[in-house]
Amino acid sequence: MSWDIEKIKADVAADVASASSLDALESVRLKYLGKKGLVQEMYGGLSEASADEKKLIGKGANDIKTLAEGLIADRKIAISAQSKRADAIDVTIPGAQRGVGTQHLINQTVIEICDVFERMGFVIQRGPEIETEFHNFSALNIPLDHPSRDSFDTFYLDQEDPQVKGHYLLLRSHTSPGQIRVMKQHKPPMAVIIPGKVYRPDAVDASHSFMFHQIEGLLVDKNVTFADLKGLLTAFCKKYFGDDVTMRFRPHFFPFTEPSAEVDIQSNIFKGRAGKWLEILGCGMVHPKVFEAAGYPAGEYTGFAFGMGVERIAMLKHGIGDIRTFVENDIRFLRQY
């Protein structure tokens, strides 16, 4: 008897593929591999065949056996995966989530920004929010008749400054007094980053609040230059806002730095603001008067300082239009981030 080996192979493949249950697959197995199956029949006829035919049919039967075993085993796994056992579970139902909490977006932003500076060797420091006029103004070269000292621009408290009779403590209007505190306590070299809450009597609206967050940075050493300031803040902006950020250093004025600059950036990450310069931070070389107030000898050190508003950066980065969102603490907002 002669066998069409290739046709049988095709039949095996077709039969296996069309078997849709384990029972059907078992009949396919019996048909080819059973005691009365085709492969046994082929082996059975070998005694009557010629030597050449024997060789051919023997190899054919082996090939068909190997093929059928392989296909049936694969098909069995596929059918088992499809078929439902009585105790099978619906694995697509959501898992029982314990509900991990969320970090407030302001603190996320603070930590992200501080992390960038920490990796560059800066150390986090915290200063008090209740400050003296000396730290908040005088030591920062802000003159006595400066408008920012008015009660229109700074919150004064009913607590007297223990050092200066007749002067009252205030809520710091910026994180810069932290510079003075750090410098009074330590000698350079130093690189610190000072995050925290600041307060100004601004009427609350979509972009103003009487309490907001700032991050201050200060680096003091011998031979720190304006080029270092530019380099470090460029590194920060690229790390934090992405490598495709465009920056410019625009001359500005702060009483406690000289020269002073503001940094504007452009980036596609600020949706709807492409092509617009966005002011992102203020900076400058530490003013000699500030070193004097800190008690450092004249001319010995140079340094730079910078400061940025956390709410502003978070609002730009996440497209948040109203600063009040941060203190409303709507659980739907909290869970978004």
């Binding site: 139902i93 959501p94 029982a96 314990r98 509900g99 991990v100 909490g101 969320t102 970090q103 407030h104 603190n107 930590i111 060797g121 986090i124 915290r126 008090p128 929010e129 209740i130 408008p147 008015d150 009660s151 229109f152 919150f155 004064y156 408290l157 009252y168 809520l171 000698k187 070299p189 130093m190 690189a191 809450k197 009597p201 309490m211 680096l219 050493d221 031979n223 230059t225 304006f226 080029a227 270092d228 530019k230 380099g231 250093f249 625009r250 001359p251 500005h252 004025f253 000289e258 020269p259 002073s260 600059a261 070389m285 140079t302 203190v327 409303e328 603490n329 659980i331 739907r332 909290l334």
Partner: protein, 676 residues
């Protein structure tokens, strides 16, 4: 400050397009905030920083453009006038008004201002009024000197007195508003009444009109603070006020007066009948030299600048410069009081070269003298991270609170720190507790239908003794959102306590304990004092219905904890040595007891068990609380699980059973509990 390009072109040939000019001014520190068209003119709105009052006028801006473009500045020629005749000017408050130049011009003809100049004023938004009034505005915008013209025939007594207003004195200003004054406000007065609010706005009834024949032209110097405070008090500002608040240069008072006199004589005719330059307090400063070396520039900027270029820039800015081999000796112009030290000069040079044209480098943060010991910072950060891991959402609330809000939470404590100038009564106190603020957040979320809350804040309390980092935690509603639970359990005291215990035990605060306490914000019987090594560190418990009702919270139980993190971060135990995982075998025994909670606490029983365990009790777990009826009245069923282990040997069942019985016997003997 506005800049009209057509007007600018009167003083300088700059050859820049408006776009180029805008960019160059911005990058020199005069940020162009907006650009608009006014007829054929382009008008910039420029943000002038407070150190640069000299740039609050067209000539000042032209000078900047001159330095930017290295082109000559064409200044108008200004005549000089000497004091003549007799005019009665007196200054009563010499600190508030240091100088007053009064020029009396007679036989003027009041008519319209020529249109070639008037158009510039209109670009600045100033309405054309008459030649005299428009000249005062023109010189204000040209030189930055505020001026005012009075009709001399309307000044009673024909004199000027600079004095403080009397309380209740009134004046109707040029804008037709009657304003009530007081002693804090400086006025210009005639013999009887105020005729102008000094430096801010003139009076309506003494101003120049079509029939005016004799005028008094005022050019003066007023104290910045006096003008600013009057402006704030009256909620009234003006172009004059804006400039006085920022400071007008001493010499400009005279130049402005003379320039206006020139223009009045030219355009309104008449002649100077009298002039009086009254100096009450000499404020002109001797111009001092500032020396800067090329090495100074290199040291601060990290880049060299060419000496010749520096010299040119400073001259263009109006400085007198003497160049040495490597130094420049500079006398700043009279209107640049902001240039005092060499760093100021370096900034002038840097901004004219362009900050973006200066090089960049990375600083070496080689050594840092600030200790890297960040224990407290890390502790607070870890507290937040662990509460987030426990499923809580972090919030940020205001540091302020109102007195009524503190009353609502029955706050009792030392007088909170009060603000002298709060925005409103809502924010008049610095919060001595976060409870009111956090409850308000819960209430607003409840109102939006979100009742299942786990909130926390790591913030501060503000006490007269100092600021204290504090943890506030609030739990309410359902325990979890597990869909497998058919009965949704509500959070209770042990949920919030468990999270607090777990977080602080992770942070190795070893001596944390709780004792029943009474607190006016909490429900009696469900409140504990949190102790660290016996020191009070806060409270935890169920907020009383009375307090909740005041926040309009009904039918939702709220649990709250407020814990002082300063105390906790100070009680962190050092890391323990690694504990071998495989010791001798442990044996666990349960004890089922009927306990009267009024007679004994779990803490006391635990202590008793350890005291009587011969050092073999490893831990004692609370595994069940039964409150049903199968236990005698007044009692609750407690099940403890006691784990025994020896550090030296394998314990036998017999000895552990005996020990377990001994402990049970002690409970019975000392605390009157019963076996179940």
């Amino acid at each position: 400050m506005k800049l009209s390009i057509n007007w600018l072109n009167q003083y300088i040939d700059h050859n820049l397009t408006p776009e180029e000019l805008s960019h160059k001014l911005t990058m020199a520190g005069l940020e162009v905030e907006s650009v608009s068209q006014f007829g054929t003119d382009t008008v910039f709105e420029i943000e002038v920083t407070p150190n640069r009052p000299d740039a609050l006028n067209m000539l000042g801006l032209a000078r900047e453009v001159s330095a930017i473009t290295d082109k000559d500045l064409k200044q108008p020629a200004v005549g000089e006038y000497e004091d003549v005749g007799n005019f009665d000017v007196s200054i009563e408050d010499k600190d508030a008004c240091s100088r007053y130049i009064a020029t009396v011009i007679e036989n003027v003809s009041v008519k319209p201002f020529p249109s070639d100049k008037s158009i510039f004023l209109q670009a600045f938004g100033a309405k054309p009024i008459s030649n005299i009034v428009d000249i005062t505005n023109f010189v204000l915008f040209e030189f930055g000197q505020p001026l005012h013209a009075f009709d001399l025939d309307k000044l009673e007594g024909g004199k000027i007195i600079v004095r403080r207003a009397k309380k209740g004195e009134k004046i109707i200003t040029l804008d037709d508003v009657e304003r009530t004054l007081d002693e804090s406000i400086l006025v210009i007065a005639d013999a009887r009444k105020p005729v102008a609010i000094a430096g801010i706005m003139g009076g309506r009834d003494t101003g120049v009109t079509a029939s005016t024949k004799r005028i008094v032209l005022e050019s003066a110097h007023f104290d910045l603070g006096v003008i600013r405070r009057a402006s704030r008090k009256l909620a009234l500002t003006s172009d004059a006020c804006y400039r006085f608040e920022r400071g007008v240069a001493w010499k400009t008072i005279e130049i402005g007066s003379n320039r206006a006199t020139d223009l009045i004589l030219e355009l309104a005719g008449g002649s100077v009948a009298a002039r009086k330059d009254l100096v009450a307090k000499e404020l002109s400063r001797a111009r001092h030299e500032v020396v800067v070396s090329m090495a100074d520039i290199q040291k601060l900027l990290g880049a060299p600048l060419e000496l010749a270029r520096c010299e040119k820039i400073l001259k263009r800015l109006g400085c007198i410069v003497a160049a040495g081999a490597n130094t420049l000796t500079v006398v700043p112009p009279h209107f640049r009081n902001d240039i005092k030290i060499k760093e100021d000069l370096i900034e002038e040079l840097a901004r004219m070269v362009g900050f973006d044209n200066l090089p960049m480098s990375l600083p070496q943060v080689s050594a840092n003298n600030i200790s890297v010991n960040q224990d407290k910072e890390n502790f607070n950060r870890r507290v937040a991270e662990l509460f987030i891991a426990e499923g809580a959402n972090e919030i940020v609330t205001y540091a302020m609170v109102s007195a009524p809000a503190l009353d609502r939470v029955n706050f009792e404590g030392e007088k909170p720190i009060r603000m002298q100038n709060p925005m409103s009564a809502e924010q008049e106190l610095m919060r001595p507790t976060g409870l009111a603020n956090v409850l308000a957040v819960a209430a607003s979320n409840f109102n939006r239908g979100a009742r299942d809350l786990k909130l926390f804040e790591v913030g501060k309390r503000y006490l007269r003794t100092g600021e204290r980092w504090t943890l506030d935690v609030l739990f309410s509603g359902k325990k979890d959102s597990d869909w497998r639970r058919t009965k949704k359990d509500l959070v209770d005291f042990y949920d919030i306590k468990g999270d607090v215990e777990e977080v602080f035990s992770r942070l190795r605060v070893r001596s944390l304990s709780f004792e029943a306490a009474a607190h006016k914000a909490y429900e009696p019987g469900q409140c504990a004092r949190v102790l660290v090594g016996g020191q009070e560190a806060g409270f935890i418990g169920k907020i009383s219905d009375e307090v909740l009702a005041r926040f309009e919270i009904k039918k939702t139980a709220v649990f709250f904890a407020e814990i002082d993190l300063e105390i906790l971060s100070g009680a962190v135990a050092p890391r323990e040595k690694f504990m071998e995982l495989d010791g001798f075998p442990v044996i666990v025994r349960d004890l089922s007891l009927a306990v009267n909670p009024a007679a004994v606490t779990f803490e006391q029983m635990k202590a008793m068990a350890f005291d009587n365990s011969k050092g073999l009790l490893k831990k004692i777990d609370f595994v069940e609380l039964y409150t049903g009826e199968k236990v005698e009245k007044g009692c609750k069923g407690y099940v403890f699980s006691l784990t025994y282990q020896s550090k030296e040997r394998t314990l036998t069942d017999e000895e552990v059973n005996a020990l377990n019985e001994e402990i049970a016997a002690k409970f019975i003997e000392k605390f009157g509990v019963k076996r179940r």
